[in-house]
Every structure is written in structure tokens, then in C-alpha cells.
Symmetry: C2
Subunit: 458 residues, 2 copies
């Protein structure tokens, strides 16, 4: 008997799951139907800033696999088709063809929910005015590019939000020749870092000619007589804008799941077990930006919407839905980004995260170089390390600096996964040669200082 | 009562030990006397290729701390003074002032042996002719530079040996405008890699215009009527040479220790315990290029002369000799290097190492990119992963490729230290953003393939 696997969402998690399940089971054993409400499948949302900035020429490069390619692998991917309800008791989903309006029910034996995330878009006056852009989908990116073309390489941009999306879009708009102002609700850019490290990002953005306004709340988008955006208003100022980009983060898209009575966590994401099965459900899996994930350092569920996790989730779901076996053990919270040549990385807990889960800690911050100090073009980076008091267990690392700063955080990501102490880290056998590292890698220098702090605090 | 710590060798291990001991104990408690037979203290031998190649302008940049700086910290560093005997029973060392010839005995309460390594220099006809250069010391580097200046930016160089020193010197000589031929005894360059990965280095060297001759043994250095080198002879050919660089590796400099009856391992290096104390001796420590180290992957002692280990040894020795506590747990065998823009990295066991210690294994080799494929200037790297059969424990990783290849090996170095399986590695939370990695980091792609191999081989 042929089973039917239904996938809701045609992006990273959903289509990875579908592809992996197809590798394990042929069409005679498993029928796969996938629904995607948008125009594109399996695209890299993370690449949008580089397309908008002009480094990536054509958005087709951001598409890992087209609908036609999926269909060639016997995956019945229905584009522009929105799932409007999940009937868990009946084992079926209701969908609407967004072109024709036609609706129908499709039964499933196994279901994958990969509905992704939606951008935060506060209901402010003017927020839907022409010239105000999200950057979640390729359609969003194209609309923004159209706005920029109309500005002919000049103009003023306001970016609302100073997280990853905000700083990456600030770079993209700068690359397009605009004057860029970033309006930030927090005390420093990059709330995913501690404020002392966020300040380094702020200073670097200043140096790049990006104006960052902290501690400010947008109250309205102001429009001109043509109805287009002309400025962004905060409590106490107005910032002229020819174009506005919203980079205020995303929330899990779980309205369907909630309506179906599936379990959501405190961030609004679906809760799954280690096999990515929705808790309490035998035949429903969920992954990608619509789920919460276990944070291995704090032992708490967190919301970490990242393409790299979505792909891993998809692999695990596909293995399990295809009759194999796989688990996703959790994350340690690694993220890297850049704004122009400034690299920004973090993994594990920030100070506030540690405090929130009852961990006492010490911090150690050091400045070092990516290469031997005497090697040409050696560049600075600041490494902050957080370790548990007494035990010395590594809790988190943040790195801000130039070339070579971002991916150095991987050392700490693996050490966190292994539950290493900072003492053990001081003896890590890391690659050394003058073009690649000082004789003590910056991460080791931070670990040595953290060891001294742990000892001193007792 | 003031104790006396005597240090033999004024480079990384010895002077790190002296400095760390001084931090813990002042001159009223601990007198520190250090002997160095050369002209320089605490210099970066690893930096010599970049000084010879012209990237580092002045050899003073390679000196981390001058003799005067050490003396300011109350370390009685005696330069150009060679220790000629260790009298373990009497607790004293005999030294000779190389300028005056004066000899004397110096008593010690604690002794640190940091005599380093000596370059392999086979007793071939002509090997001591003018124009034949080692690259172990700053004096060596200066002599080579003098030879190059006389050639006025042209000429032919032969490098004997295709390990780290050989390929780094090939780059340096190419940078100086010479035609470079590398004569290699092995089947492929970089014997620290498996031959399949060494072949990639060979191909890249070809592409750079470096001629590499494998499977060849140098039989003589031929000289002209002026007594200077004119060619290098192998069994079946002659290679014209205006300058010859010897890069055949190094051996532990342990003649003194051997004469004193201290325990040596199968590579001729001193054997220590985890606190870097010479085995069976209460008050003698040894570190740096004159010791063997525990390889944590194979459980065997190996000879891994690297500045990064020497510095760590020095810290540990200084802590213990200064009345504190420290250990050096061992290495996993990480090393990185480059030849022009080709990056070369390895950690853990090669295939032959695994076989030698009775481990059965699978290998997985993948090609991937340092950035998202669509991001500009994304560059290829080849990752080879070796995992134990059945258990799937990671045994080793080798990476050859362009920008971003070398330091990626740190991920594997930490995973090896933690004893991770390749299955666990597939879920590692590594930094992802398009400028820094594909959505599956190359190391994860290799891990996934290794998992499949482990399963398939059973």
C-alpha cells in the first residue's frame, strides 16, 4: 500500500524532508505532496541582503532547487497553494490554490509542518506605504530592488532594527550608495550579543558611515503627498527616508498548528521531540523556523530561526518519515554575520541568558589578532568568553573583529557541545601557522584569562 | 631560602617556563638562570619563511622578547652560552661561554630542558658548501637572504624536502623571483597528509609554477670552481641550483639529555609525564621541540615539534616549577600551512597511523566551498574524514583548499579532543551565513558522508 506524506511549506526544512524521504522510499511506497503558498521553493533567505547589495547578481542563484527539479524527483510540489487548515483527527489538510481560489482536502498518513516564520511588522501608521520593505521572501527582495533602482544610486534609507537582518541590510544599502540610518530599540546593535560587544559593532558601523540610533522606538512611517514613504518618526525625531527596510526579526508561523491544537512553546514555536516529531503526535513532524529547539547549554527550549538548523531538521524528519532513523540533538546558539568587513559571531549563552537559568559566571574579554602579529594584514578581534563560576564550564563566546573572527566561534561551538571547561580549552590543539593564527589562538588567550577569573572568583 | 631554577634553551618553551615561574615567584624566592647558545631568544622560527619571502621586513619582528626584556624581569639569561653537560646526581649543569671559551658549573634545585630540535642534515658530499642553507635559526635566515640578495632577484632554487618547511620555503623563494624546484623523497608532497590529499598539494604547486619531483633521493650537492653550490644530484638527474634550501624536517636535540641518562622515546625525544616532568625525575621538566607528546587519538607518544605546543609546555612547566599546578593533556596532531593561496590542514590520524595502531576505519572525501556557492569569490576545498569502523569515532581530518580551508580543521581538532563520533558531528551547530559557509559547512558534509560509509561497511 502506498502511504502519503504531506509537507506544508516548500522551503529548506520542508523540501529537505521531502527529498530525504524520497531517497529512502520510492514513489511506489511513498507518495509525497508538498504545498507552498509563495512563488519560490528551496531558496536562501539568508542570501537576500547580498542580492539586494549587488554581490549576487540574480536571485535565481539563491534558489537551491526549483519546483520543476523537485517534481522530477517525484515530489508533487504545488506552488502558490496555501494550506488553510490541518484536520488532525481526520488526517487531512485543506488547501487553496491562490490563483484559481479552488479549495480541496488532501489526506495524509504522515505530515510535515514546515511553515517557517513571518517577519515582525508592528501595526504602525504608514507601515504598509509604498517604499516600506520587508526582506523575507524573494518577492520582497525584488520589490526593494525596484525601489532602489528608482532612486538611481542615491537617496536615504532607514533600517528599522539592528539585529542580523538590520545590519546586513545596512551594508547592502550602503553598497547601493544610499545614506543609511539604523533605528534600534535596544541599547546597542546586535541584541544577540552582550551590550559590551554590541558597542563594538556600533563603533564599527559609525566608522563605515552608518548612523545608528539606539534606545529609540519607531512610532509611525510618514508619507508624502504621493503616498510614498518620506520619513520615519520616533518618539522625539523624524528621520527622512526614501526607502525603509524592516529588520525587526521574525516570529514562528504557527497559526495553522495552533488552530489544529498542536503544542506550542513560550516563543510560539511548535514543540517537538528529538526525532522532530510534534510532541504527543505519532505521525506529525515539524522543523525549520516554525519550531523551538533545545538549547544544549541552558537546557531550555529557544527560538533560533536559522537556515542551517532548518536543513538539519529536514534531514532528520525525512529520515524518520522515510522509515529510517535520525535525531536532532539541539543547538548551542551559534550565529555569524558581518557588516562590511566587520565580522560578528556568538555561541552559547549571553550574560543575561546565564543569569536567567540560574548560572553564576565569570567573563573574560581579550583583544588579539587573526594572524601572527608580525604577519602582514594581521587584524584585530575581541573575544569575550563566559564560564560557569567554580566548575569553569564554558557557557558562551562572542567574537567581534575583522577577517577570521566569525568562523573562530566554531571552536567554541564544538567545545560547548562537548561540555568542555575553559581549563581544558587552554590546551586545545588548534591550527597554528603565522598566516592563520598567533601562536596562542585568540580563543585560547580568552580561555586562559577565563581560567584565571574562575580561580580568582572561587 | 632562595631556590635556583636553571633553564637550558632560550626559545619558546624555555623562556615561557621561565616567565611563568617568575610570575608566580619573585627573585627573593626563586633565582632563574637560563642558557642560550644562539644569538637570539624567544623568536618565531615559524616566521622565517615569511621573512625570507619578504612579507616580514625585519627579523626583529620575529623576536617575541629580547634578552634584555627577559633580564628586566629578573631572569638571568646568558646568551651565547652552551650547556655541555647535565650532572643529574650533582644537580648542576656545565656551560661554556662561546665567546670567551670559559666554562663553569651552575647548580640547580629545579631544571628545565628546552633544547629544541636540530634540522635533519644528511652527510652528503657538498652539503656544507656555500649557498646551501638551513632555515632553523635567524642566523640561517639572514645567511639565506644574503645569498638571495647576491642573486639580484633571479636564479634557480632547489628545496630539498616537501614537508611544511619545504613548501613554505618554496613559496618564499617564488616570492623572491626564483625558479623553484622541490625534491621530495615521498610519493607526494606533505607526508603529514595521506597521498590522495598530498596529490592535491602537488597539483596546486604545479599550478603555481613550482616544479615538484617526487620519489627522488638527493645523493650530492655539486659545487662549481668557486666552491659554491651549482646543482643538486639525485640518483638519476642533476638540478641546477644557485641556492639550496634544506627542509627535511627536524629531530629532537637530546644529546645532553641522553648523556645524562634521561629517558628518551622511540623518536629520540624526552619522555615526560602530564605535568611535563621528565619521567622518573622529581625536579627536571622538559618541553618544546625536544620532547615527545601523547597523541590523544592513538594513545601513542609522537614527535610533533610545533611552536604552539612549545608555548603551552612552557606555561605548564613554569606553573609547576613556580609552585603552582598545570598539565599538558596531549595533542591531537593539528597542523596548518600554506603555499601561496593554497591552504593545507590536518588533524588526528592519517590512514597509515590508524592502521599502525590497529584501528579499522572508513574514509570520506568531499569537495565543497568556503562560502555559499552563490556568494562572490567562493572557493573550493577538499575535506577528507577518517572515522573508526563500527563506532564511527572521528579519527582524523585533512583539508586542502583555498581561503578558509586551514582553520576549519579546528572544528575537527575540538571534536577529536572530545572523542566525538561523525554521527554527532553532523548535528554540530557551526556558524552559518553566506559570506562564511554554505548552509552545510564542508566539515559537516564530510561527516554526513562518513556516517553513510560507517553504516555501509558495518
Amino acid at each position: 500500500m502506498t502511504e502519503r506524506l504531506v509537507v506544508i511549506g516548500g522551503d529548506a526544512a520542508g523540501m529537505s524532508a521531502a527529498s530525504q524521504a524520497r531517497r529512502l522510499k520510492g514513489p511506489d511506497e511513498l507518495e509525497i505532496v508538498a504545498f507552498e503558498r509563495g512563488h519560490f521553493s528551496s531558496f536562501s533567505a539568508c542570501g537576500i541582503p547580498y542580492w539586494v547589495g549587488g554581490r549576487v547578481q540574480d536571485c535565481s542563484e539563491l534558489i537551491a532547487r526549483t519546483p520543476a527539479e523537485h517534481r522530477e524527483r517525484a515530489i508533487d510540489l504545488r506552488m502558490r497553494t496555501e494550506v488553510t487548515a490541518i484536520d488532525v483527527a481526520g488526517g487531512r489538510v485543506r488547501s487553496r490554490d491562490l490563483e484559481s481560489g479552488a479549495e480541496e482536502w488532501t489526506g495524509y498518513d504522515k505530515l510535515v509542518i514546515a511553515t517557517g516564520a513571518r517577519p515582525v511588522r508592528p501595526p504602525l501608521p504608514g507601515i504598509d506605504a509604498p517604499g516600506v520593505h520587508g526582506v523575507q521572501s524573494l518577492d520582497d527582495g525584488q520589490a526593494l530592488l525596484d525601489s532602489l533602482v528608482a532612486l538611481e544610486g542615491g537617496g536615504r534609507a532607514v533600517v528599522v532594527g539592528a539585529g542580523y537582518i538590520g545590519v546586513e541590510m545596512a551594508e547592502a544599502l550602503l553598497d547601493r550608495g544610499l545614506e543609511v540610518t539604523v533605528l534600534n530599540r535596544g541599547a546597542q546593535p546586535m541584541v544577540t550579543l552582550d551590550p559590551d560587544m554590541g558597542r563594538l559593532v556600533h563603533e564599527a558601523m559609525d566608522g563605515l558611515g552608518i548612523t545608528t540610533v539606539n534606545n529609540t522606538e519607531v512610532t509611525a512611517v510618514l508619507t508624502g503627498s504621493d503616498g510614498r514613504v518620506r520619513a520615519v518618526a520616533t518618539g522625539d525625531a523624524e528621520y527622512p527616508a526614501d526607502v525603509v527596510v524592516l529588520g525587526m526579526g521574525v516570529e514562528p508561523e504557527t497559526a495553522l498548528a495552533e488552530a489544529a491544537g498542536l503544542p506550542l512553546g513560550s516563543y510560539g514555536g511548535l514543540l517537538t521531540d528529538l526525532s522532530m516529531r510534534v510532541r504527543g503526535r505519532e505521525n506529525i513532524w515539524a522543523g525549520g523556523d516554525c519550531v523551538e529547539v533545545l538549547d544544549l547549554v541552558s537546557g531550555r527550549e529557544r527560538y533560533v530561526p536559522l537556515g542551517t538548523h532548518a536543513n538539519k531538521h529536514g534531514q532528520v524528519i525525512g529520515a524518520n518519515a522515510g522509515g529510517g532513523y535520525g535525531t536532532f540533538p539541539g543547538v548551542v546558539g551559534t550565529a555569524v554575520s558581518k557588516v562590511c568587513d566587520l565580522e560578528i559571531a556568538r555561541t552559547g549563552l549571553r550574560e543575561r541568558d546565564a543569569a536567567e537559568v540560574g548560572l553564576q559566571y565569570v567573563t573574560a574579554t581579550v583583544e588579539s589578532t587573526n594572524r601572527a602579529g608580525y604577519y602582514p594584514d594581521s587584524a584585530l578581534m575581541t573575544v569575550k568568553m563566559i564560564a560557569e563560576r567554580r566548575t569553569g564550564r564554558l557557557l558562551g563566546v562572542q567574537i567581534v573583529g575583522r577577517e577570521g573572527a566569525a568562523k573562530r566561534v566554531d571552536i567554541a561551538a564544538v567545545a560547548l557541545t562537548a561540555g568542555m571547561t575553559v581549563e581544558r580549552m587552554t590546551a586545545l590543539d588548534l591550527g597554528y601557522a603565522p598566516p592563520f593564527s598567533p601562536v596562542w589562538d585568540p580563543v585560547l588567550v580568552a580561555a586562559r584569562k577565563a581560567v584565571a577569573k574562575v580561580r580568582a572568583e572561587g
